[in-house]
Subunit: 290 residues, 2 copies
Amino acid sequence: MTEDAFTICIAGLGLMGGSLALALRADPTPAVWRAARIVGVSRSATTLDAARAAGAIDRGTTDLAQGVAEADLVVLATPVRTILRLLPEVGRHARPGTLVMDLGSSKGQICAAMADLPAGLQPVGAHPMCGKETAGFAAADALLYRQRPFVLCPLPRTTAEALATAHDLATAVGGRPLVVDPLAHDRAVAAISHLPYVVAAAVVAAVDGAGDGLAWTLAASGFRDTTRVAASDVDMMLDILLTNREALLDWMDAFADQFAELRRNLAAGDETGLRACLATAQARRAGMRF
Amino acid sequence: MTEDAFTICIAGLGLMGGSLALALRADPTPAVWRAARIVGVSRSATTLDAARAAGAIDRGTTDLAQGVAEADLVVLATPVRTILRLLPEVGRHARPGTLVMDLGSSKGQICAAMADLPAGLQPVGAHPMCGKETAGFAAADALLYRQRPFVLCPLPRTTAEALATAHDLATAVGGRPLVVDPLAHDRAVAAISHLPYVVAAAVVAAVDGAGDGLAWTLAASGFRDTTRVAASDVDMMLDILLTNREALLDWMDAFADQFAELRRNLAAGDETGLRACLATAQARRAGMRF
């Protein structure tokens, strides 16, 4: 591997960034991507050591400017508000023509910030639809992106060639690239990811608040699964919620309306009304394939 | 196997009853239970055929009175309101000394109805804390009860010997017997099972109602898990919700308070308040072991 190899700088080597690096090194990644040089950027020397030891990165640095300066492709894989903070620094240090991507879970504010990057850079917002409630490089997994939608949000100024490279990257790690408008993305993920998260957190908080020890003893697979995402990293989730506030508030209100209707029907013992609500949800959910 | 063998009549051969029968036939069930004769009762001849073919039952009948009349132990494994309807019939046909159990998910109304059984019968309400969102004998699984709490609710009149037999049965199928007061049980399962169910149904209904096709395309593991129970059998769930209404309404209100606080903090952009809510739930949920 020489300094002339296509160089990818991945800033943030947690679940998303670490998995991206591992996936680029794993079979059956196309040879052209496997040959890329990967520079990892992290605040943590321990994380850099772990990523090097796992063969995920060729070189590690705690200096974002240095990592960015030698890259053909920069991928920001940190929490959303850190991405927003790092973008101007990427703009100052990236070479002309560099493709600048991110893996943040909300896209509106990030794509708006990408529009302020110097004209020579090629921005593409991205959001792979996968995750775990565990964080950090230790949770990274070369198969994380496999078969999952990999959302791409090019800017109006992004060239077709740059978008094609982003598309190739998504495919190389096993994902299914899907070009989506940033605000349509934000509205959709508020529904299927951010709403379920706040709902799960409220369920856990409600049960926790009552101090019913028997409840915890009896908790079974239903509780385990419905509340799993409540264990997600709070810093990461705060960034997501606060940068996708309007869309999430709309969905929270739509949810609250449905919940209130269920409560009304239950309180009134209105079996017909209750059945109608539950049967619609049952048919919809039973028909979903993952 | 002779007619003198200990005879168990299982009424309802769906997920719970079918799994109970299979578990009693599987290794490493104690020999004394494996030797029991199992009579299955179902409205469906097809189900009886399937259960016989799987070796789950020795004999099948569509006639509850007949099945009950020859049993030493009757287990009602139907939806809750069917259990309530069948109990008087069991009372009319069971031989003196018969142990009468059920596997229903709410216990208050069932245990109250069991108190009206003839004096010679030995009632023990039961609720194994396991389940799936799939129903029917096809979903039955000999390992369903393994390592799961198996709640037992004896009545004041239940003899120690009858409770010991129920305890043995729970252990024989791999469960962990736990004697609990019916109303304490109902309050606890309203929190960890019935609340998550209505919440999941409301999430699916809210997203479905908005007709956002992209949302369904992007739905990932978080949505899959948080909404899984919304696919549960509606008839079964209606019975549970309507027979555990007061406890569930209380938890729905506690949940709504937490949800409203999250919404207020989000709408106000109050990061400190939002973090406090989410961090408490995160710590609680991350500390749970299943």
